[in-house]
Amino acid sequence: MLALELKQLRKTYANGVEALKGISLSVEKGSFIGLLGPNGAGKSTIISIINSLTRKTSGDVTINGHNIDYALSAAKAQIGVVPQEFNFNIFEKIQQIVINQAGYYGIPYREAAIRAKKYLSMLELWGQHNHIARILSGGMKRRLMIARALVHEPEVLILDEPTAGVDVEIRRSMWDLLQQLNSRGKTIILTTHYLEEAETLCDRIAIIHQGNLIQDTTKKQLLALLDVETFVLDLAEPLRMTLPILDGFKFKQTDPMTLEAECSKKKKLNELFSFLNEHNILVCSMRNRSNRLEELFLRLTR
């Protein structure tokens, strides 16, 4: 069964901007899908339509078998949304925000209080449960929104750039949590600008560009599309020769001590190292210029 199905989803705003131009996307239950795309691609519009804050112009949205046109209430109960911007009352107590959210889903107060403790503890916020939300740091506010989205225990969790502005340590712990939730069967839909995040977490990637879905495949298949990879070589001594020429490789010098080598996937790296050895070019270290998904993303959306 599908956790989410979008069919020919279109959205044209009142100012004439065509944000979505007929997007069709199917998300299997239990999958972890990344929605990628440059700013203004239409990712947030899709999420906003799914959670009913934006009205679609046309098309169909079905969440866990419930079409939003015919069974909106049931569809809403299936999803938990973590929006991009903070949208809670900053003067309310943290625990109360989560308990209230449970109440809006019809969960009795006592049960809501138990769940609030469970999810605030899971997000490492229970220590602050009695404080007002205003005092929380940016990262804590994001975690509060995740706890709030989980309190009614939805089947599908949608996160719109959840780790934006969050420090590395918290980001890693959020990744662990999301992977944990996914391993327990929750379907997760994630939009992010951190392609490393998508590459680490998602098993499926959909790339949206100018309101169109330009890629929708498994991460493995998507990365297979990448026919070249660029490596940055840190040299032991400055390069004192014109840039070398080697079939299947392109070289670029960014500074006297750094050489970039664009390698075709058909070629073996051993060829590169033999060539560098022949020319007495000593390499101290080597790394990817950007992560593989980032490289592919830039190619697809350029």
Binding site: K76, I79, N87, N89, I97, G103
Partner: protein, 257 residues
């Protein structure tokens, strides 16, 4: 959503609104208590002692129902308009909009918050009034009905204001420039018999006059308008306004794209 879940959602909204009212009590409960005490001291005792009886009651006895009603009107309206607009401004309204809670429950929850605050403040003002004068109670059920209907009516009006408002000025404009003048001119401090011909006719165009009059009748038993018609019209207007507010939540101007 089944009925029990809707009830829980309604309870949650009401509790949230009530907690908000008590959390900011220096803004919600204290000011009307202080203002009304000043009205009782200045208009009731100091100025009122120089004014002869109106329709068989001392001046302070005559103005108490009007002042209680004024508190109910203002607090019901301000509670829902500021709370709804505040939720919109902070975007916390989205917490409710993304949930399965139906619009009718969202509306009823906000109305209940406004009604509770209005009745709490109305009760406080009535208690304060008892320190200055003794009060008659002509018709308890009517008193309760008029207070309740008025609180509901102005709570709904506040929600509508909150839905349309784009800035904080939009929320304060109507209480300052519409409700306050209509309330003052609605016979809170005087009887229409004290007005000259033309002004009396103009005063009868003020809808709040009928509300104040009906409430005063329930306490003192004096009236210059038909009570049944006044209450029926208030009931009809409240019903119409309720469905209009519900329609607004459905079409959601400024709430949904």
């Amino acid at each position: 959503m089944i009925a029990k879940q809707m009830w829980i959602a309604f309870e949650t909204l009401t509790r949230k609104e009530l907690m908000r009212c008590f959390r900011i009590w220096p803004q919600t409960i204290m000011p009307p208590a202080i203002t009304m005490t000043l009205y009782f001291v200045i208009f009731g005792k100091l100025v009122g002692s120089q004014i002869h009886e109106i329709e068989g009651f001392t001046y302070i006895q005559y103005i108490v129902p009007g002042l209680v009603m004024m508190s109910i009107i203002m607090n019901a309206y301000i509670n829902t308009s500021s709370s709804f607009f505040g939720s919109k401004f902070q975007r916390s309204i989205e917490e409710i909009l993304v949930s399965p809670t139906p619009n009718v429950i969202i509306l009823c929850g906000f109305i209940m918050g406004g009604v509770m605050r209005a009745l709490i403040v109305g009760s406080i003002v009535t208690t304060i009034a008892l320190f200055f004068t003794h009060l008659h109670l002509h018709h308890f059920l009517l008193m309760f009905l008029v207070a309740l209907l008025t609180a509901v009516f102005f709570s709904i009006a506040g929600v509508i204001n909150g839905v349309y408002a784009k800035t904080f000025d939009d929320v304060s404009w109507i209480p300052s420039f519409v409700i306050t003048p209509l309330t003052y001119f609605g016979g809170v401090f005087f009887s229409t018999s004290m007005l000259s011909g033309l002004w009396q006719k103009i005063a009868y165009l003020d809808p709040i006059l009928y509300i104040v009059n009906a409430f005063r009748y329930s306490l003192l038993g004096v009236s210059y308008a038909n009570i049944e018609i006044s209450v029926s019209v208030l009931f009809i207007f409240t019903t119409v306004l309720f469905f209009y507010a519900l329609h607004l939540l459905r079409v959601s101007p400024g709430l949904r794209n």
